[in-house]
Amino acid sequence: MLHLLRHPILRRLVQAFFVAFLLMVFAFLLIRLIPGDPAMILLGDTATEADLIAYRKLLGIDGSLLEQFGRYVFNLARGDFGISIRSREPILSIVKKRLPVSLWLTATTIIMTVALALPLGVVAALCRRTWFGHAFQIGASLLVATPVFFSGLVLVLLFAVQTDLAPIAGYRPGFPGNLYSLWLPALTINCVLTPVLARILQSSIIETTDEEFVEAAIIRGTQGWRFYWRYLLRPSLAPTVAALGYFAATVVSYSVIIEIIFNLPGVGMTLVDAVRNRDYPLVQGIVFLSGLLVVSLTFMADLVNGWLDPRAKIR
């Protein structure tokens, strides 16, 4: 049994499970660190002490922390995430309703990041000594320094108010119609992600350019797309892909702000409401599930890197 753990991918999976468990513990403890009692919030100021105690029991938040945690883990192991304190709706069904919006937002954003950052990084590396290179440096720094709630509003003004290219707010489900409401929020997040990723790619390509194997390929007579893909891009992609896995994770946290600006009914908005209401099970459920999403995204980035660069195969 133990020798199986020596397989790198399996070992990485076990690590991922461990991270997921830690995440569950954190989610459980953090929400309880915030002052405020869900029973008090729900029943209001007029409730008596006896009412509160009875209600806490009903909500399943009575007893010591350890008892509560034990119950939580036991239920989770059976796939039961509990029910929302506020709406009495099962957590899973809430997440099922809200998660697709967030997943679509994440996917659109990441695809957009790749589509923008790859060509931008390559061109910025090849033209680093021309006016484009300098403009890129300045533009990238400016964009990264701009907070998303500001760039988001500017983009809404440009594309939704002045023109009709996107809705001002709201979401229409169903592919591909939903892209109409998603492209602007995705672009907003990309104001931060694209410049950073393009810079990472630019500097790794510049580094690769000095490698002896590039010179060797030129002397061999390798030209055209073959040269650019095999000798400049592919050996330079590892840091970019790793960053992309990490970025996918940041999108999940950006989406909280973005969903509020663009009024998208995703998990981000639900999470903010849940924290405000001290909806313990809902917060736990969302943090844990989006955490799992992040863990699996970084895992996927590792797999892609293993394919791109055999030296980087998961160890």
Partner: protein
């Protein structure tokens, strides 16, 4: 006989910002006949590698350019030749084993992909044909189990193996001239010998001329017919290997010879050349070697870097070439 390669008074400079030029090679001269092997020796920073890059047209990539002089190769002028001409020369007429060529293999590609490239770059052919040629090339550089090595990537091969693969790629088109820039520096001594033997054998089999760059006079004596010594971007002495090692006519060549490890007397300190090598951008006025030379007088400090002058069987750029006996052994 028509020489294969004739480099005359070649000057190369780095292009700095604002149109400034930083000379890295000033007055390099080299003469090479068909099938001949010449060694270029010098300390690091003497311009050996830049000279090689000038011969394969990759100076612009390294921010440098030829400012004057000529490179005559096989009746073609290569100094200032356009990229189109270089494409017909590189790999086909002039093969090249780059410096630190252990890093010369792309880590993400298999040996096969890269060898096939050097075969198909010149004439397109089926994958199968190219593959067979790749196997033949690997066998040519004495690699056992060629089929397996084809599937390997750089990190799965030993240093000697990687060097052999680099040589295989360089000779794929049976070039007239093979340039090897420090081909054995990163290898251990037994592998060094194997690689040098291999290069010598291939040179005879394919009738190639060879330029072997090294900072080790011993390596050059073993493989080459003649040698050109570089110091601070200039050719300071040239001639047949045996003559230069027994009766050098430039104090620098003499110093190189005395400081050789294999001549050291056990139990005594290793002889080192006094002073620091003149580095690019801070060459002294006059003969560039004078600060480290015990023969130096006012003329050496005052007059510009002397040109190569014939003396006996060799060429020397020392105005005191006839006073070598004054230097103590």
């Amino acid at each position: 006989m028509q020489p294969l390669l004739e480099i005359k008074d070649l000057d190369i400079s780095f292009r700095k910002g604002g149109g400034r030029l930083l000379p890295v090679i000033d007055a390099a001269n080299l003469h090479l006949n068909q099938r001949q092997a010449v060694g270029i020796v010098g300390e690091s920073g003497s311009g050996k590698t830049m000279l090689c890059r000038a011969l394969i047209g990759t100076l612009p990539r390294h921010g440098a350019a030829i400012t004057s002089g000529t490179i005559r190769f096989d009746d073609q002028e290569l100094a200032g030749a356009p990229e189109r001409v270089w494409r017909s020369i590189r790999g086909r007429e002039i093969g090249y084993i780059p410096q630190s060529s252990l890093a010369g293999l792309n880590p993400v590609l298999t040996v096969e992909t890269q060898l096939v490239e050097s075969i198909t770059a010149v004439q397109s052919q089926s994958r199968q044909q190219a593959r067979q040629k790749a196997v033949a090339l690997l066998e040519r550089v004495r690699i056992p189990r060629a089929e397996q090595v084809l599937k390997a990537r750089a990190h799965q091969l030993s240093g000697g193996m990687r060097q052999r693969v680099m040589i295989a790629a360089a000779i794929a088109q049976a070039p007239k001239l093979l340039i090897a820039d420090e081909p054995t520096t990163a290898l251990d001594v037994t592998i060094q010998r194997e690689i040098l033997t291999l290069i010598t054998q291939l040179r005879q089999e394919l009738g190639m001329a060879l330029i072997l760059v090294s900072h080790d006079l011993g390596v050059i004596e073993e493989v080459c017919d003649s040698v050109m010594v570089m110091y601070a971007g200039a050719s300071v002495e040239a001639g047949p290997v045996g003559v230069l090692s027994t009766s050098p006519r430039h104090p620098y060549t003499r110093a190189l010879r005395v400081s050789r490890v294999d001549r050291a007397v056990p139990g005594t300190d290793l002889e080192a050349i006094p002073g620091d090598a003149a580095s690019v951008g801070s060459w002294p006025a006059g003969c560039r070697f004078w600060p480290r030379c015990s023969l130096a007088d006012n003329a050496c400090r005052r007059d510009p870097q002397p040109a190569l002058m014939p003396i006996g069987l060799q060429l020397s750029a020392c105005i005191h070439a006839d006073r070598m006996f004054e230097l103590e052994e």
